[in-house]
């Protein structure tokens, strides 16, 4: 069952006299439970595509439908709520809240959703166990390694029980071992919990772990292959 349908998506940056096509007529469909890598060289449009998919940026043309909702019709406020309940984010630089512990970082998004304290706590502990750091619940981001911080970020992304998780270069700041571990954890969550992951990478060490690889170049889909 497809959860994301993209039709003729374009994004043009015309801040200079020469328009730059970051995305140029993209047509894609993502099915529930996919584990997809979007790859391509720098400037190919990976981040722009993920930003538009996540509702953080607006397209210049085309349409995106996520689980029956036309993203173009949502107001800024509705878009924020839509992200809160439907999309999980993992960022390249972890982006955890430094003044909160690992568990509080995970609970935070559930609190935004209005979930009760007991439910938040139980879910956060369950997720910390799933990403392999149950003993670091009370640690603040500054006390965790890069790999551990990114695991917390994955747990936070899953805390809201989103329809899919977008991860922009999640392994870019990690060493090889941490990068492989993170992808293994994401892969396991995908298999065991049927969580849909769409991640961008230009890291050859991890892209082979994806089951679908979409290659972008100059804002166009160059290749879309299922492994």
């Amino acid at each position: 069952m497809s959860i994301i349908t993209i039709k003729n998506l374009t994004k043009v940056y015309d801040e200079t006299s020469v328009p730059v096509y970051a995305l140029n007529g993209i047509d894609l469909t993502f099915e529930e439970g996919e584990f997809t890598a979007i790859v391509g060289p720098s400037g190919s449009g990976k981040t722009t595509l993920l930003n538009i998919l996540g509702g953080l940026d607006v397209p210049s043309g085309g349409a995106i439908d996520i689980a029956g909702t036309n993203m173009g019709t949502l107001s800024s406020r509705d878009l924020t709520r839509f992200r809160l309940h439907n999309i999980g984010f993992v960022f390249q630089s972890y982006n955890l809240i430094p003044v909160l512990s690992a568990q509080e970082n995970i609970e935070f998004i559930m609190q935004l959703q209005g979930k009760p304290r007991a439910q938040r706590s139980a879910r956060a502990q369950e997720l910390l166990a799933q990403v392999g750091i149950p003993d670091r619940a009370a640690s603040r981001p500054g006390q965790l390694s890069g790999g551990q911080q990114q695991r917390v970020a994955v747990a936070r992304a899953l805390a809201s029980r989103p329809r899919f998780v977008l991860a922009d270069e999640p392994t870019a700041n990690l060493d090889s071992k941490s990068a492989e571990n993170l992808l293994d954890i994401m892969g396991k969550l995908n298999k065991d919990e049927n969580v849909t992951f769409i991640f961008s990478t230009h890291d050859a060490r991890v892209m082979h772990k994806a089951r679908r690889i979409i290659t972008l170049e100059d804002g166009k889909v160059l290749k879309d292959q299922t492994v």
Partner: protein, 405 residues
Amino acid sequence: MIFSIAWRNIWRSPQRSLVVLCAICLGLFGGVFSMAFTNGMSLQRIRSAISTEVADIQIHSPEFLAKGEILDTIPAPRAVIARLSALPGVSHWSSRIKINAMAASATTGTGVVLYGIDPADERAVSSIADRVGQGGYLADGGRNDIVVGAKLAQKLRVRLGSKIVLTMQAADGAITGGAFKIAGIYKTDNSAFDETAVFSVAADLRVLTGLSKDAVQEIAVRTADSRAAPAAAARLQAMFGSLVVESWEKSSPELALLESIMTYMMFLFLVIILVALAFGIVNTMLMAILERTRELGMLMAIGMTKTRIFAMIMVETVLLCLTGGAAGMAASAAAIAYFGNKGIDLSSVSRGLSALGYGSLVYPQMDVAFYVALSILIMATGIASSVYPALRALRLQPAKAIRTI
């Protein structure tokens, strides 16, 4: 959790936060303490004037206020006093003969206001008896004793036991006079009052002027609470329609003006301090937001609404203000309590202060209500200071903010 994050964010950069907190604390301490100092001075001036010069309420005939003649007495003063005694809130009263006179010593002379009093009644209304530094207060009549201010004694070049001649108008319109022996020399905080007000026993003045036994020009009234004097005066005025009843605010408008100017000055001073602090707080919060651009972008991305982000920044700013404000208020309250009990000695400039009617020992004073109002103002300052930084935060584009280095 917004409250928790906001509080922890304050301590994210402890050095910077402490600088801001110290600025708020010291600013408020300086402001509040100097306000308490000035407030204490003006309240002392008002209290001193009420207890020595004007009492809480004065009753006169309208003619006396217009002309000040010796025959402009209060009609049926016994009936007035009988009704005064039944009025709740009225604690003491004293009937006074009040006439203008010339005082002359062997070397010089000057104009004075001569009060003829019943010493027992007057003691309950006025603190002049307690201010007599040399000699004693007035006792029974028949001896032509007089109590004068230190400034007048200095001006007339007389001392305790000296005789001065008082010349005044008699009840029949003729000029009369008599020699009075200085039985006591008083000193209040107001040297101008000390230079003009002299006190003698009413019975002696009646003999001298020919005024009838009950004739008085003024009834001075004390109330249990000076702040209730205007209301009590209004009730008395309703009872004695043919007389003029004035509370201290009316009979001594410069005191009322002093009190109202102090209130405005305190408010203005406070606003200036808080506005100055607000600029520092805005600057600090703008820096904090600049440093947290990526984090704010992340919060927007994961689904934190603009309202919540605005609230988080507002809570953080208000907490910063309240923390510094609480420290500043606690420090100033402690200092005010200490010096309010011990007093601040300004005797080195006592002559100048006395000329203006102020005492040389100042007891800083501030009401609890002021602290409540100040807390509300600090909170309002925090809210106002948070608006611009919060609006700057809301203008961030999450996709760009997340990538900020």
